[in-house]
Symmetry: D2
Amino acid sequence: MSSGGGYVYGYSADREAYLKRLRRIEGQVRGLQRMVEEDRYCIDILTQVSAATKALHAVALGLLEQHLGHCVAEATAAGGREADDKVTEATDAIARLLQS
Amino acid sequence: MSSGGGYVYGYSADREAYLKRLRRIEGQVRGLQRMVEEDRYCIDILTQVSAATKALHAVALGLLEQHLGHCVAEATAAGGREADDKVTEATDAIARLLQS
Amino acid sequence: MSSGGGYVYGYSADREAYLKRLRRIEGQVRGLQRMVEEDRYCIDILTQVSAATKALHAVALGLLEQHLGHCVAEATAAGGREADDKVTEATDAIARLLQS
Amino acid sequence: MSSGGGYVYGYSADREAYLKRLRRIEGQVRGLQRMVEEDRYCIDILTQVSAATKALHAVALGLLEQHLGHCVAEATAAGGREADDKVTEATDAIARLLQS
C-alpha cells in the first residue's frame, strides 16, 4: 500500500526481496560502466549486458505473476469492462517486454 | 586501450557516450527501486523495466557493431582459425542477448 | 472444446482467425525455404525470419490474452491452490516466450 | 547467387541442412494449426509457439554466423564505405531479431 494507507499491490509483501534484486542489477550496471572505463573486451561487456537484461526480465516476471494473481484476479472476479481492460493492459505489458 | 597503453577496442573512441548511456540506465534502475518503495502500480514498473532493457539492448547493439567492424574484421582479414573463433564468439554473444 | 463437446477455451471463438494467421506464417516459413533454395542474400532471409517470429509472437499474445481473460480468470475466481497454479503456469509460459 | 553460377553465399554449402530445419519448422507451424483446430489447451499451444520461435532463431543465428564469416569478412577485408555498410546492415538485422 502507499505509505498513506490504502491499497496493497501483490508484490508489496516481497518488497524487500525486489529491492535487493534491483540493487544487485544497479551494481551490474555500475559494473558495466567500470568495464567500459577499463576498456574491457567487447564480448565480456556483452555477456554482462545479457546478465543484467536476464535479471531485469526475472524481476518483471515476478511482478507479473503477482499482478496476475492479485490485481488482474480481482478485476476478473468483478467482471465487466474493467476485467477486460486489466487483461488487455497486462498483455500489452508482456508485449512490451517481448519487444524490449 | 587501457590508459596504460596498448590495444584500443572499437568502442573506445565513444567511451564517454557509452558511459553516459550506462549512467542513464543506472538511473532507470534506481528509479525502479523508488517505484517499488513507493508501491507504484505493477504495470508502470513493468513499463520502466522494458525501457531499461531496451536501453541495455541498444548499448549492446552499439558495442556489437563496433566489435564487428574492428575486432572481428581484423581477425577475418588475418583469416584462419582465429577468424572462425571470433565469428563464433560474436554469434554466441548474440545468442545470449536473444535469450536474455 | 474438444470435438466430443464440453469445455471451450477462450480462443475458440476466434479459431478461424487464428488458423488464418497460422497458415500465413506457414507460408512465410515456406517462403524461407524458397529463399534458401534460390541462394537469396542472408540479410533478406534474416529479415523474413524476424517477420515470421514477430507473427508467431503476435499469435502467442492473442492466445495469452484470451487465456488470462478466461481460464486464469475462472481459476482465480474459484481461488485456492488451483488459482495459484494457473497463474504460475501462465507466467512460466511467458518466461518461455521471452527466452525463445 | 542462383545455381546457375556465380556468387555462393556463406550458407550455401549447408543449404540442405537449412532446408531440413525449415521444413521441420513448417511442420511445427502446421502442428500449431492442428492444435487450434482440436481446441487444445492454450498453454500447450504457447509452448509449441516458443519451440517454433526458438527453432527460427537458431536458423537465424546459423545464417548470421556464416554471413559474418563470409560476406561481412570479405567486405571488411576490402575496407572503406562498403565495409561499414555491411557491418551496419548486419547489426540492423540483429536488432530486428532482438525486437521480434
